[in-house]
């Protein structure tokens, strides 16, 4: 039977009914990876042997009637998650030989619930990038058009789904790194509220912005995955101790009477006409489904990218100080004792974008500049967050494009860091505000998918999932498949 269009719940039913086995599903994914990944480069590590062994074990559990919501489902995770015994290189030369000694909590939760790890997914080095061109393991190609980027930094997580290589994946989102690749690859991606999912064991980029989330082929699958990874973790003191609702329970509730806000600052001149048209058509779908559409304002939107590139780089410069060639990673010998070793190790181990961000962040935190840059950015962050909280007094959720354009060409923006950063203009404010958002397919620009962003109130993931499901039920965009064969 063909599995590629089946939801995880349907796969679970098929497993329970004995119509397929976890070994069969795992083999199908491994075969698909073997057939397509030379072109896509989504996987940096494939765990074929351990995946098949775990699948056989899952089949024994299923036969014994011990089935969880993810038992036997083959998944893959971004190479930023520590996965015990498996290489975890985070897209970087400096970690190319690093074998994780423990599991990240989010991955451990999927594994405890029976998911099968197919392997680790390509990404921009240390999650810094919007195109997946900053990976030491080479760029990922968009399954919809191999000349184009899949988005970043979770480019492998989105491309693997679009290529039919896995049934769900995990990514991380610091300024749009789940939503923008989900948009470029035509899949669903959720950036949960800051604190909703544990970051324990997730290699840190910008700690006050980083958040773990799922990518999936449908809203329902994404909701199921989010429920599986969400929740307080004593090992992450920034995870929040508030109850995790059943995200599937109310997901079919529709949008009748929901108040959806359109932030006028997101419908700007730079928006590609195809994206504008697709988002406007989505608004009409929502109106038709009984939602009330109102215009709102997020007046500090235009300052978000500048604010982000000070805060994120400052935090990155501090977080990445740990790569010093002492406890893990590739060491280079240098002149001048310990400092010389540090400097050579880091110069050889980091790529250009990572160096650029460490430098910018170090500058923003350095003596004499802290108040002018870092502190100023933290104050502007307060204003951006206040914009959202004010808007949410008027509306239940916000609807916007995910990115100003569909997927751009490989190499198109690599020489101009600022242009690359501006491709995250609609996703970055959500991370600064610390609230939740998702991306779902809402149209095509020729052969390229377009994504719709729904932004929710803090810890109100259930509502944006419900609104996304209502749209998905009404449209067929999520059923489109990349023309890979």
């Amino acid at each position: 039977m063909s599995f590629s269009q089946m939801s995880i719940r349907q796969l679970q039913q098929a497993l329970r009914d004995g119509k397929t086995s976890s070994v069969e599903l795992t083999r199908a994914c491994l075969a698909r990876i073997a057939a397509t990944d030379e072109r896509i480069n989504a996987f940096v590590t494939v765990c074929a042997e351990t995946a098949l062994a775990a699948a056989a074990e899952a089949d024994r559990k299923i036969a014994a009637g011990a089935v969880g919501p993810l038992t036997g489902i083959p998944i893959a995770v971004k190479d930023i998650f520590n996965t015990a015994g498996v290489r975890t290189s985070c897209g970087s030369r400096i970690l190319e030989n690093y074998i994780a000694p423990y599991d990240a909590t989010a991955f451990a939760k999927l594994q405890e619930q029976g998911a099968i790890l197919l392997g680790k997914l390509n990404m921009d080095e240390f999650a810094m990038g919007s195109s997946n061109e900053n990976s030491a393991q080479g760029p990922v190609r968009n399954p919809w058009d191999l000349e184009r980027v899949p988005g970043g930094s979770s480019g492998g997580s989105a491309a693997a789904l679009a290529a039919g290589q896995a049934f769900a994946t995990l990514g991380t989102d610091t300024g749009g790194s789940i939503r923008q690749p989900a948009s470029f690859c035509g899949v669903v991606g959720v950036k949960p509220t800051y604190g909703r999912v544990s970051r324990y064991g997730v290699i840190a980029y910008a700690s006050s912005l980083d958040q773990v989330g799922p990518l999936a082929q449908s809203v329902e699958d994404a909701a199921l995955l989010l429920g599986a990874v969400a929740g307080y973790d004593p090992l992450d003191s920034t995870s929040v101790d508030c109850p995790v609702p059943d995200y599937l329970a109310g997901i079919d509730g529709g949008v009748k009477g929901m108040k959806i806000g359109l932030p006028r600052e997101y419908f700007i001149a730079g928006l590609d006409p195809a994206v504008k048209q697709a988002v406007e058509a989505a608004i009409e779908v929502y109106r038709g489904l009984g939602a009330e559409i109102v215009e709102v304002s997020l007046p500090h939107t235009d300052y978000a990218v500048a604010c982000y590139y000070l805060i994120a780089t400052a935090e990155a410069s501090s977080n990445l100080a740990r790569y010093d060639g002492v406890r893990y990673g590739v060491r280079q010998q240098g002149e001048g004792g310990l400092s010389g070793m540090y400097e050579k190790t880091r110069a050889a181990g980091f790529g250009d974008e990572v160096k650029r961000r460490i430098m910018l962040g170090t500058y923003a935190l350095s003596s004499g500049y802290y108040d002018a840059y870092y502190l100023k950015a933290q104050k502007v962050r307060t204003l951006i967050r206040a914009d959202f909280l004010k808007a949410f007094k008027e509306v239940d959720l916000l609807l916007t494009p995910v990115a100003p354009t569909a997927a751009f060409k490989l190499g198109e923006k690599t020489d101009d860091p600022l242009q690359m950063y501006l491709s995250d203009i609609f996703t970055i404010p959500v991370n600064l505000a610390g609230t939740c958002a998702l991306s779902l397919p809402c149209g095509m620009d020729g052969q390229l998918p377009i994504g719709l962003q729904l932004i929710g109130q803090p810890f109100d993931e259930a509502r944006i999932l419900q609104a996304a499901k209502a749209y998905e039920a009404e449209t067929d965009w999520h059923k489109q498949r990349a023309p890979l064969d």
Partner: protein
């Protein structure tokens, strides 16, 4: 303001990065462009605004001081470039 090459070299030292001359040149231009862009934040009056360090209000997370299983020596050392007698080995620091 214009970022100078000397300032970039200073930041490279603070960042513990030994950069080639060509890298310093490229970074001087790029950082200058980015710092020029972030100047736009100064359009906003933030004198009375409290800075946000975290989007979620956080308090110190205390826990009971109990002995629990941890990573262990073997796994903690498994990725180290050089070890000896259960220690990380680094180049000589003190002559």
């Amino acid at each position: 303001m214009k970022l100078t090459r000397e300032e970039v070299e200073h930041v490279a030292r603070l960042s513990r990065l030994s950069l080639e001359a060509a890298e310093i040149d490229a970074l001087t231009g790029q950082m200058d462009q980015l710092l020029g862009y972030v100047e736009k934040l100064n359009e906003l009056d933030t004198d009375e605004i409290v800075p946000t360090a975290h989007a979620v209000p956080l308090e110190n997370a205390f826990r009971a001081d109990e002995i629990r299983p941890s990573l262990g020596l073997e796994r903690a050392l498994q990725n180290a470039p050089q070890t000896e007698a259960s220690c990380f080995v680094v180049p000589k620091v003190i002559e």
